[in-house]
Assembly symmetry: C2
């Protein structure tokens, strides 16, 4: 059996051994143990460490070979030098998925040790994730090797976004933001040095993963550029890939090399590959998080946007952003204009953006959006919501989720502000409505959705 056929065991719902487990607080393997227990891992947890009889109340084993039950997955967090031997033991124990958290391999010049690790994994057909990484997280099975405490880094709910990342730090911050905004995740795969399997294998796996509908890829240096291109091209036709290439220029390239031991490769080549494969390129981390969230929406039929707002200036800024990004501030159909004229205050005028002014309540939004839904010039519903005005209250949540359920047009919300506004954003995101903290961020994401929709229509 090929190593890559066993990737599913990295997310085992059944059993996991934590090798190097320790009762000492804040140590990597202690945090991992805690997270598996507190996070309510669905299977059995086996701490392994010859030094201890018990870790966090669980019987501790001297080696995996001592465990009598069948074990599907192992998380290794020990000094690098012991790792190949430990993975050998995992092989003998028929553990099929091994996550190596430990650093100290190729990224610090220990290429030999990394090569040894790779050979052991291949000898036993083990799916080896890492080394030098955060490993795996699956909100469905609750497997979790992210060694960051839950009170510091929240875990997102189960969802449809898979995240393949070379950098643990970058990956973890996206997980944290996803959790904050209640954005659901299907699988998190931090692969670090990619000693054996790499992003190509994980993308291939995700192509057929039933929980995954959208894929984020953060890559610094790929080992198999051509293969990556072919796989992205294939997968992206079924499931949109949003990709960020880091280590593009000058000293950033050097920084990438010392980070995971992989050559960053030419950014021009990556850019061309993304473009040809029609992969959605994010140029910054912010874009990565902004873009992926819009892809839970239906694909739009065109680029006409209908905007409703309770703050004029925010409408002006959004129109600017649409013009700059080549989307269209739609002309309302006659029936829409007539319908809107009836609901606007006497001093309002029927234009797109439709300015309901600060007097607007949830009902105003509902009536306007119901007209937008039937307007053939409008492909996308853009709701600007200043939650700070007196008449806006929680009824707006009900209105927006009802609108969303009653249309096949994508809908997004722009809500700018502080803590109070953020609560609305969290609730709406949790209900599947992408929300943005700035007009420009929202529009850039919409542009990517429109482009991807065009690509899929032409297929």
């Amino acid at each position: 059996m090929k190593c890559s056929d066993n990737i599913k065991y990295l997310f085992s719902h059944n059993s996991v051994a934590v090798i190097g487990a320790t009762p000492i607080p804040n140590k990597v393997s202690n945090v991992i143990m805690r997270n598996l227990i507190d996070g309510k891992y669905t299977g059995k947890v086996y701490p392994v460490n010859p030094k201890y009889e018990e870790v966090l109340g669980l019987k501790c084993y001297k080696s995996v070979l001592e465990i009598k039950d069948n074990v599907e997955c192992a998380i290794v967090a020990t000094p690098a030098e012991f790792v190949p031997k430990i993975v050998e033991q995992c092989g003998k124990k028929k553990i099929k998925g091994v996550i190596v958290i430990s650093g100290g391999f190729g990224e610090v010049g220990n290429e030999e040790l990394e090569e040894e690790l790779k050979k052991v994994a291949e000898k036993y057909g083990i799916a080896l994730l890492g080394p030098n990484c955060l490993g795996a997280f699956d909100p469905y099975t609750k497997i979790d090797s992210i060694f960051l405490p839950m009170y510091k880094l929240e875990r997102p709910p189960p969802g449809e976004i898979a995240f393949v990342t070379q950098s643990g730090a970058v990956g973890s911050t996206i997980i944290d933001m996803a959790a904050h905004y209640k954005v659901g995740i299907s699988k998190f795969i931090s692969y670090g040095n990619a000693a054996s399997l790499n992003e190509c294998d994980y993308l291939k796996f995700l192509e057929n993963d039933k929980e995954t509908k959208t894929i984020i890829l953060y890559v610094e240096g790929a080992k198999e550029g051509r293969r990556l291109f072919e796989i992205m091209k294939k997968v992206n036709k079924k499931k949109p890939i949003i990709a960020l290439k880091a280590g593009k220029y000058g000293k950033a390239i050097l920084a990438a090399k010392s980070h995971t031991g992989n050559l960053a490769g030419s950014y021009t080549a990556y850019k061309a590959a993304f473009r040809q494969a029609k992969v959605v390129e994010a140029e910054t981390l912010e874009e990565l998080f902004d873009f992926v969230r819009v892809f839970n929406q239906p694909l739009p039929n065109g680029n006409g946007v209908g905007i409703v707002t309770n703050g004029g200036g925010m409408g002006v800024l959004t129109s600017d952003a649409l013009e700059i990004n080549g989307l269209v501030v739609a002309d309302f159909e006659k029936s829409t204009v007539e319908g809107l004229a009836k609901i606007l205050p006497s001093y309002g005028s029927v234009n797109n953006p439709l300015d309901l002014i600060a007097d607007a309540s949830a009902e105003g939004y509902e009536r306007a959006l119901n007209l937008f839904i039937t307007d053939k010039n409008i492909d996308i519903l853009c709701v600007i919501l200043l939650t700070q005005t007196p008449p806006i209250d929680e009824r707006i949540i009900g209105v927006l989720t009802k609108i969303k359920a009653s249309t096949s047009k994508p809908m997004i919300v722009i809500a700018v502000g502080g803590s109070y506004t953020d609560k609305y954003r969290r609730v709406l995101e949790g209900y599947g409505v992408p929300t943005y903290g700035y007009p420009d961020s929202a529009v850039k994401a919409l542009k990517k959705l429109v482009e991807y929709a065009e690509f899929r229509r032409k297929m």
Copy 2:
């Protein structure tokens, strides 16, 4: 006396009349009354409305002429048609600053009414703010005509940033974000239609306002383009102006017209004016808020950046952003390299970005930053802080504020994440350290600081 000489009375610490005051919850003038009372306005509040004897426990007057005490400022929130007469009464009462919240003037085609309002103000030498605006907020005197409830829109603490904005909605969201991050404000001026005074007058006023050190300008359409250019040029030499022009393109220009009744004017002309005056242009709302916060730092002597991080990938992304924005990932001096070699773990390497890896605690940052401070190649300290790692705790706050106090180099913090990270950001911002949620946002702000520093050095 000229109207503009009385601008200071718009921020009176002494006395304010609220004309149109009502006990009906959620009405504009009720919210304003509440905010003055709950916000602990430093002077006396006089509700004025012939319909009531009392509003929120305060004696209510039939007109301002009935008030026996001297009154410096009035806030008017009544239907538009009554406003000129009310302002006439204010004139007779010798009220020097009048804030007109009411809409229904030039922005809906009532140019005549707006002209009438202007004439009355000029007749009495009144500084008239508005109409069709949120008016004024001053965290020092607690004058506050922002008709958004405090539980929905927090108010920022006293500080050094003044904000002149044509759009109330845009202005209020910045106020909200500033409050969330504990960014201090000196004056908030939402001027809407600018019937009498406009952004030129307010900028001139702020030039000599002792609390103000940095100015934000949000403008859709200026009435006096040439004058604005001259004033910006003069003021910006003393106090950096960060400006956003909205209503740039196509339908956004139309939206701006129907918003405050002002013609948006050519964006090309604005852009040229900003460039010539060396005003810091923000192209988006996000940039506006990102850029202004870095200007509380000392101006750097050059563009060399020293980066310390506890997450490798975040260092790579920051390096990319620096390269793209023409800043320099500094080469460490020999003494820095030697000093750093002593503090790094054996498997770490001394490069910029300096990767302390996830093991780093506050002490690691302190030792690294102390070496950065004396390194002549480093003009700017860039701290990437993943608060999510186990060893990072509140000691880092003490370390960073100590470092900041001991150097004349600017320092910024990049901290990406969810709620836990956000708490650190809020504390650090409150202590005068600008923090950013993404590497790219931070670097774009630094670039503006470097450019402005160059401009000031050349003066």
